[in-house]
């Protein structure tokens, strides 16, 4: 189109045609088919890796030292992050509940109780799991994908060592244990910061008692159960994408991104499912 | 054209260049040889400001670039094209867009003129015009390297810096690159500075050659003199012998 002399106009034209071209890519039949296929492939692959790992967990050799080393790395490295994030979360929850409850029940006495319920049942386990996906999961993927790139995984297989047993099992056990520990620590930190920000309305004694009225053993068990279930997501997704990583820096980067996104997405979905199932069970029990 | 005056550079307390003095004349094809990791690449990176010298002066085309700011280096970089060891093509852009990258940003050419330029540059590196619409990762490694060279010559630099151009290539592809280096020097009348450890490439291409060892330049001579030099460090490098203290 030679009549378009203006450089800006041509730039806009090129940009528009590019948008149209890009937008087209997302909605072709093949595009949807490929996405669906990839979704099934990833879900299936992840499940296979999970089953493989669970199968290999009780099998010797038990590499206790490696498990402890991983647990130390996972726990110690993520502790500052968990403390900071859950600390803020505790304060945010209390601030938000102050606002909401003042309008609904016109009473701020029960804020510690509701904050406790929300922390134990929901935000404690999910946020800790999401933070572990970011901190630990991304680390696992980066580590394993660069091992794959430097052919270390092939070397393991040549020495007839099962890479899943050697690499995934210790990380799996360590993350699971640390997820539980960090969830408890995180909720404790959130409790402390929540208490600090509700000054001077409550003293420590009254804050604790009010919370005790609402939060029972079943909420604590809920926390542990959720932590165990959600904790399994991170190492499996991270290691899965690590094993699948493409070559070079680009491959490592993409694998890490996918690992984290998948982990957080699965955590949200799994958490929702647990809530729905728990709700149904509660109904049955009440009836 | 290019001059190093007593240039020093160290990384984390580890000295890499210890007083480099070198003069490269216009139109020359100059080779800097040396073992892997002695800092040959550092030397040419100093020229375009990707690294800065700790001490000493670097002159390019009568300008002292050592104290240049990043913005001032932009003009130096248009004069000095750098051919990286790996192709470093922008992998989100097509070959055409890679080649048009510098033209669109530094010239007022129309789209038609840019397309003509891109075709011409592809022809200069002996690639067919239909490569332009492909993505870089669809090409073979040797082709990617040639596209990288075509991108570098887009602004018609007067100096071409080659970083290990033939390293890791099979002899056939390496010979193609050697021929391209000779053609570039002739057709575009550029000064070529090549960092390499490939003696065959050196014999094919070089006018003059030097050896970088222990942070200093050992000898500057013609290729045939270099191969028969009596200097022990040169002999070690040419014959591929280990350093005396490491020998069994």
């Amino acid at each position: 189109m030679s009549w378009v002399e203006n450089k800006t106009l041509r730039l806009i034209g090129r940009t528009l045609s590019q948008i149209l071209y890009l937008a087209r890519l997302g909605i072709t039949v093949e595009g949807i088919g490929a996405n669906l296929f990839r979704f099934l492939e990833v879900t299936g692959g992840g499940m296979v890796l999970l089953i493989q790992t669970l199968w290999l967990v009780p099998r010797p050799p038990y590499r206790l030292r490696e498990i402890l080393r991983q647990a130390l790395t996972v726990g110690w490295q993520s502790l500052p992050l968990i403390v900071v994030v859950l600390g803020f979360l505790g304060m945010i929850t209390v601030l938000e509940l102050n606002f909401q409850l003042s309008r609904v029940i016109h009473n701020l006495e029960y804020v510690p109780g509701v904050a406790g319920i929300l922390m134990f049942r929901e935000f404690g386990p999910t946020v800790v799991a999401a933070m572990l996906a970011a901190k630990v999961g991304a680390g696992f993927t980066a580590e394993i994908s660069s091992m794959k790139n430097t052919e270390q995984i092939d070397a393991l297989e040549m020495l007839s060592v099962n890479p899943v047993h050697y690499l995934v099992v210790p990380r799996f056990i360590a993350t699971l244990a640390m997820q539980v520990a960090l969830s408890v620590i995180g909720v404790a930190v959130a409790f402390v910061t929540g208490f600090l920000i509700s000054q001077p309305r409550f003293n420590f004694q009254s804050y604790l008692t009010t919370m005790g009225h609402f939060v029972g053993v079943e909420d604590f068990l809920n926390l542990i159960a959720k932590a165990l279930l959600l904790g399994a997501v991170v190492p499996i997704a991270a290691c899965y994408y690590g094993f699948r990583a493409g070559a070079g820096a680009k491959g490592v980067g993409e694998a890490t991104t996918r690992g984290v996104v998948t982990s957080i997405l699965v955590i949200i979905l799994l958490d929702f499912t647990i809530n729905v199932v728990a709700d149904k069970i509660l109904e049955v029990v009440i009836q | 054209m290019i001059e190093f005056r007593d240039v020093w550079k160290s990384f984390g307390g580890h000295p890499v260049l210890q007083g480099i003095d070198l003069r490269i004349e216009p139109g020359e094809r100059f080779f800097i040889l040396g073992q892997t990791g002695v800092g040959k690449t550092v030397l040419i990176r100093l020229l375009v400001g990707l690294l800065r010298a700790d001490r000493g002066q670097v002159w390019v085309d009568g300008e002292k670039v050592t104290a240049f700011s990043e913005a001032q280096f932009m003009s130096v970089r248009r004069k000095c094209g750098m051919v990286f060891q790996f192709p470093t093509l922008f992998d989100s852009l097509t070959v055409f867009e890679n080649l048009a990258f510098a033209l669109r940003r530094h010239t007022d050419l129309s789209e038609e003129e840019i397309a003509a330029q891109v075709r011409e540059n592809l022809a200069l590196v002996h690639l067919p015009g239909d490569v332009a619409e492909r993505m870089p990762q669809e090409l073979s490694y040797g082709m990617q390297k040639r596209v990288g060279l075509a991108r570098t010559i887009a602004l018609r630099p007067r100096i071409l810096l080659y970083d290990e151009p033939t390293t890791g290539l099979d002899p056939f592809t390496a010979e193609q690159i050697n021929r391209l280096m000779l053609e570039m020097a002739e057709k575009l009348s550029v000064t070529s500075v090549v960092v390499s450890h490939d003696l065959i490439s050196m014999v094919r291409v070089a006018d003059r050659v030097t050896l970088l060892a222990d942070g200093r330049l050992v000898e500057v001579s013609r290729p045939e003199q270099f191969l028969h030099s009596a200097n022990p460090l040169v002999r070690q490098f040419v014959e591929g012998r280990a350093a005396p203290e490491a020998a069994p």
Binding site: L11, R14, T15, Q18, I19, L22, A23, V84, V85, F88, I92, L95, E96, N98, F99, V104, I105, G113, V114, I117, R121, E122, T126, A130, A134, A138, A142, E143, S146, N149, F214, A249, K250, G251, V252, G253, T256, V260, V261, I264, L265, I268, D271, N275, D279 | V48, L50, M74, S75, R77, M82, F86, T88, F90, S92, F101, A102, R105, R151, A154
Partner: protein, 274 residues
């Protein structure tokens, strides 16, 4: 007592180093941010690159934001229903869920999801370009990498996070209502009855303000971590990891600051609006 003093002495060194490193990092990031903003107003503006990034960051994150937003809404309604049932205050479920999602849970959880998708993507891409010398190649072609790479990404990410958060919030509200209706058997007219009363425009405004701030923070951190990567393939993974951690902390910190500012001002604001 002396044992304690000795222990304090022993951990003081690392803590001082840590604090210094932290301050240096913050300073470097602020300078990076300033440089980026300065380059926004310099010609030429890379329209094509920005469109590409808006597609990569925005359009391609839509499915994930939709899915996560919907289920976050569902989770919140289930938990609020439980909490409110303790006071027999289920009447307020719709209002509280909507207000809570708009003000707090929505922006934060959608932001965490976007941190994983967008932050990691931007850092990984820039870090890859850095370690494969593509950034050096850009400099050698006489183009400023901040202008060509960082500015388009910064603007695209900031704008797209804002829009993705709006999208996520809408879906979360839908998810809340639907899950409340289908799983908890709450009548929808009952659910919607209180929304109008308990949700002020101020809640929406708080949520929007948060998403804008998160967008700027995330864009800065992701680009900064990508551009300062040095080394090989492993360094790319580590850069992504650092980006995720810093972004998460930044999101919760910013959320806390806005929440406490909102706590100070909401009474005033509600008086103005109503």
């Amino acid at each position: 007592m002396t044992v304690l003093t000795r222990q304090v002495q022993r951990i003081r060194g690392p803590i001082e180093i840590g604090v210094m490193a932290f301050l240096q990092e913050i300073g470097a990031m602020a300078m990076f941010f300033a440089a980026t903003v300065r380059h926004i107003f310099k010609a030429p503006f890379e329209v094509q690159e920005m469109v590409l990034q808006m597609y990569q960051v925005g359009v391609r994150s839509v499915p994930i934001v939709l899915i996560s937003g919907f289920f976050v809404g569902g989770v919140v309604v289930i938990q609020f229903n439980y909490a409110l049932s303790l006071f027999g205050a289920e009447v307020y479920l719709g209002g509280i869920t909507t207000s809570g999602l708009l003000r707090e849970v929505g922006p934060v959880l959608v932001a965490i999801m976007i941190v994983g998708r967008v932050g990691a993507y931007i850092t990984a891409e820039l870090a890859t370009m850095k370690v494969t010398e593509q950034v050096d190649a850009i400099r050698c072609l006489g183009v400023n990498p901040v202008q060509f790479l960082v500015v388009p990404r910064f603007l695209a990410v900031s704008a797209m996070i804002f829009m993705l958060t709006i999208l996520g919030l809408l879906v979360a509200l839908l998810g809340g209502a639907l899950v409340g209706n289908l799983i908890l058997d709450i009548n929808l007219s009952f659910y919607f009855a209180n929304i109008r009363k308990l949700t002020a425009a101020w809640a929406l405004f708080t949520g929007m303000l948060k998403s804008i701030l998160f967008g700027i923070l995330l864009a800065t951190i992701a680009c900064y971590q990508g551009m300062k990567t040095e080394g090989g393939a492993e360094a790319v993974g580590q850069a992504v990891n650092r980006c995720l951690v810093h972004c998460s902390i930044a999101v919760f910190l910013a959320d806390y600051i806005i929440a406490s500012l909102a706590a100070l001002t909401y009474g005033l604001a509600e008086e103005i609006i109503f």
